[in-house]
Amino acid sequence: MRFLSYAAILAAGFLSACASTPHDYLSADTRTKIVSTEVVVPIHQNEIYVYVPPSQVSASAGAQAGLVGALVGAIIDASVDSIRTGKAETAVKPLRDAMVDYNFDSTMQGDMKNALAPVSWMGVDDVRVSKQITSRGVDGEIFGSKDGAILVADTNYSLSNDGDVLTVATWAALIPNNDALRAIKPQKKKGSRVDAANALYHNSFAYEVKLQNASPDRDKNIAIWSADHGALTRAALTAGAREVAVMLAADIQRLGDEGKAANAETATVDGQDGIVIATESTGKTVRFKDGSVKFAANAIQ
């Protein structure tokens, strides 16, 4: 469920990830038409934040009271959200201060380059981080690109509402940028180019790590993340950037759903059932039924 929440954050950013097609594979034939690829990584924020899920305080009451009730309920919920976000922002300030010199953007940029450059058929030309995260902004960023394809890897990182889980999440889409590729995936006339419906390939990836012995008290958890100049947070974000890039590089090379092997290990992560596709000393990579992939890291302390 938590994973779905992060997917919702990403979708709310600018990318209209189509719920009915969460994942599209890239065919072998399509690969042969990709001469070069520009990689653009829009990163949603400048610092870590606490994701506060939308309030549902008045939802049922509003639904039972017609339009006026819905309007009043919406205003009440928005006010509640604002107050809760204000408290979360105050709580996360010590962590931000501890991390002020940490540059997630350049870490992510380097990891994307390291992971994707060896995929020879992609012909990765450049990896750019962008702060243009709206559909208009990203369309502007990729306008005029000379590469045959553009891989957009929309990335976001945050702490859970209780401050006990850190997540790095990426929604990636490969957009055609030459006639041969556009013939394979005709583009919609309206709307942003960076849309699941326009993508040759797209999928969601997440890295998630929990605090061992986390407290129900958000402030206490954030104090742990903040200690020693945010050492745990730096390590988690660095690992998260690397794992997300590695998962993307592996997934974009898959030619189709290889199915579930008879002896495949299964796992349930945050209520979602999936297949374990890799096990490392630091955690497990799990592919869910919708094709999305998550690295569930071992808890840290």
């Binding site: 506060v52 919406a74 702060k131």
Partner: protein
């Protein structure tokens, strides 16, 4: 859904633009009130007025994208001249009678670096953060300061965006003002 209901209420049924234009911030900080940063002025003895002399040697933006100031809802926020915007914040320190801006002579040199300046939308809220580092020269430790503002995102409007940045800047400059005066007292 709730955002849609709120927009419906606020725009009286107007359709939300799925690709709205960016908000462009003013390059000039507007303080919250006419007497802001003047609380100490009446209590400052004549001999102490302007005794804390500073010199703004440099203001630079250390961010990779110097225009981008984050987002409000689906709108990007641009600041075409972030250095002028930050200088306008420091200009308001002149309101504090204890501080003077020196052209020459003995003064505390300030080299200012903009580290963060952004708005982020989280569910129905908007939050603004501005972080600067000030190098006071070799004799004094550097200082890192943060100004913040959080509130309800009413309609992703230009006015509420500008106001939030002004409030965050006011908080930032108030903390810098207090620290500069304390540093002068220790010199």
């Amino acid at each position: 859904m709730r955002r849609a209901v709120l927009l419906l209420l606020l725009a009286l049924g107007g359709c939300a633009d799925p690709n709205p234009p960016a908000v462009e911030l003013s390059a000039r900080f507007t303080p919250p009130s006419a007497d802001w940063l003047t609380a100490h002025n009446a209590l400052t003895p004549a001999a102490m007025k302007g005794a804390c002399a500073i010199r703004l040697v440099e203001v630079r933006d250390a961010r990779a994208d110097m225009r981008s100031m984050g987002t409000i809802g689906a709108r990007m926020i641009d600041e075409p001249d972030s250095v002028a915007w930050m200088r306008s914040g420091f200009d308001t320190l002149k309101r504090d009678a204890r501080i003077s801006f020196a052209d020459g002579g003995k003064a505390m040199d300030l080299k200012v670096e903009i580290l963060k300046a952004y708005m982020l939308s989280i569910t129905e809220a908007k939050t603004t953060n501005i972080v600067v580092r000030i190098d006071y020269g070799g004799a004094q430790p550097e200082g890192v300061y943060r100004g913040t503002d959080t509130g309800l995102n009413w309609a992703s409007g230009s006015g509420e965006t500008q106001s939030s940045f002004d409030r965050a800047m006011a908080q930032l400059m108030a903390s810098i003002d207090e620290d500069i005066v304390a540093r002068c007292a220790r010199m």
